[in-house]
Amino acid sequence: MLTKRLIACFDVNNKMVTKAHKFQDNIDIDTAENVARKIYEDQIDEIIFYDIAASAQKRKIDIDTVKKVARHVFVPFTVGGGIGSLDDMYEVLKAGAEKISIDSMAVRNPEIIREGEMAFGRQCIVLSMQVKRVEKTAKIPSGYEIAIDGARFFTGMDAVEWAKRGEDLGAGEICVNSIDKDGTHEGYDIEITSLISRAVNVPTIASGGAGKPEHVAKVFTQTQASAAIVSSMLYSPRLEKNYSMREIKERLSEYNIYVRPWISGRNI
């Protein structure tokens, strides 16, 4: 039986891991390389790296930093930001990532999902989406709309429909980032995570809002999410208390959530 996965998601800008609140007011934490090394050694299950400015600045992803991080990460490593072509994907995979995250670029050109799946396999393509709660309308029946470019532009697309279409096009995982919850530390958006995790057959990753282990326990018990992003809890200076993976996993076990156990003396 698969364990629930805990994923650290780094927003990287100018080689630094940075932490936002509702996609704004970023604070720098440390270099991506240093954060990656520490979090890997703390036994994180997986790492995602977003070059957050690449798409908005219309430049290629910072491959040099991707390579540096990959040398310290011996758990699954996903990279996203500014990936708009098969060549971009190949570059990132060659740099040591095994999954590609596409977000705004996939909204602009959905065929990139299919092309990526054909070239590298479904398991390689993570469709990441920025969702915001809106009024339910005929066009947006779920009441969640897709935004792009760091929540700057709204697309008029329904989040659940987009997730289903993404799966049909070839996405192997769907990462649901709540714009309303991002950096708030008040818990995940349970409603949209639940809707999407029931609508698709591929794994769903819950993202945005985690501030304590109880939030993670809640998203795993009240939705069918396979994984959850826990970045702030690990290193955000905005939180009074940061947690180690050991603390988080031990707490989740108390809620009978099946996770990869934290084991002491296991660093190589």
Binding site: M1, L2, T3, R5, Y40, Q43, D45, A70, R71, F74, V75, P76, F77, L93, K94, A95, G96, E98, A119, F120, G121, R122, Q123, C124, G172, E173, N201, V202, P203, S226, A227, R260, P261, R266, N267, I268
Partner: protein, 210 residues
């Protein structure tokens, strides 16, 4: 020197990074001549069985690799698709595979579980073996697969894992080892297994100290 086979859609860079981390000298192998220089071969893999077989054939190295492994007894480690292509046939794309290991490759039932399987799952080892030195009887590894192998010979099964069905997650046969899970992406336990393979291949291994 461990040779890591480089082919289109393989994840050789991750395996090289892992070997570097545990202090094992390695070489990215993309041509026949380079295979002569190595005394252990790793066939990494992501993607499809058909795509992998086509890429391997395009490389033109299959006869040399087969000779090295099957006749000269060079230690071999297959990872993920690198396990599946060792079998006779895969349901994926109705693909004829290498046939080094008797048996077939089947798809998980979508009625039972989410496919692909993506995540950490537990492997239970069926017996002791030097490649498992320092590992527990059960360990968690990272899996990404829609298909699983069914070896004809139960004696070749070194680990079993549960995902809707109980499937074979690692095999061993003479100098051949292969795992369904990504040992290069399974944290300290995975690195230990890679290190054990390098030891079997006779490579000097020094643990990197941070």
């Amino acid at each position: 020197m461990i040779g890591v086979i480089d082919y289109r859609a393989g994840n050789a860079p991750s395996v090289l990074n892992a070997l570097e981390r545990i202090g094992v000298p390695s070489l990215l192998v993309s041509s026949k001549d380079e295979i002569d220089e190595v005394h252990g071969i790793i066939l990494p893999g992501v993607g499809s069985a058909l795509g992998t077989m086509e890429s391997l054939e395009e490389m033109g190295c299959l006869d040399v690799i087969s000779k090295k492994v099957l006749q000269d007894g060079v230690p071999f480690l297959g990872i993920c698709i690198g396990l599946q292509v060792l079998f006779e046939h895969s349901e994926e794309g109705d693909t004829k595979c290498l046939g080094w290991i008797p048996g077939v490759v089947k798809k998980f039932s979508q009625d039972m579980v989410r496919v692909p399987q993506i995540g950490w799952n537990e492997a239970e080892f069926t017996r002791e073996h030097p490649i498992l030195s320092g590992l527990g009887k059960r360990e968690f590894f990272y899996f990404v697969n829609s298909y699983y192998v069914i070896p004809k010979d139960e004696n070749m099964v070194l680990a079993k894992t549960e995902y809707g069905v109980e499937f074979c997650s690692m095999i061993t046969h003479k100098n051949i080892f292969a795992a369904q899970f990504h040992t290069e992406k399974s944290g300290a336990v995975g690195l230990k297994l890679l290190k054990n393979f390098a030891m079997i291949a006779g490579d000097a291994v020094c643990l990197r100290k941070d």
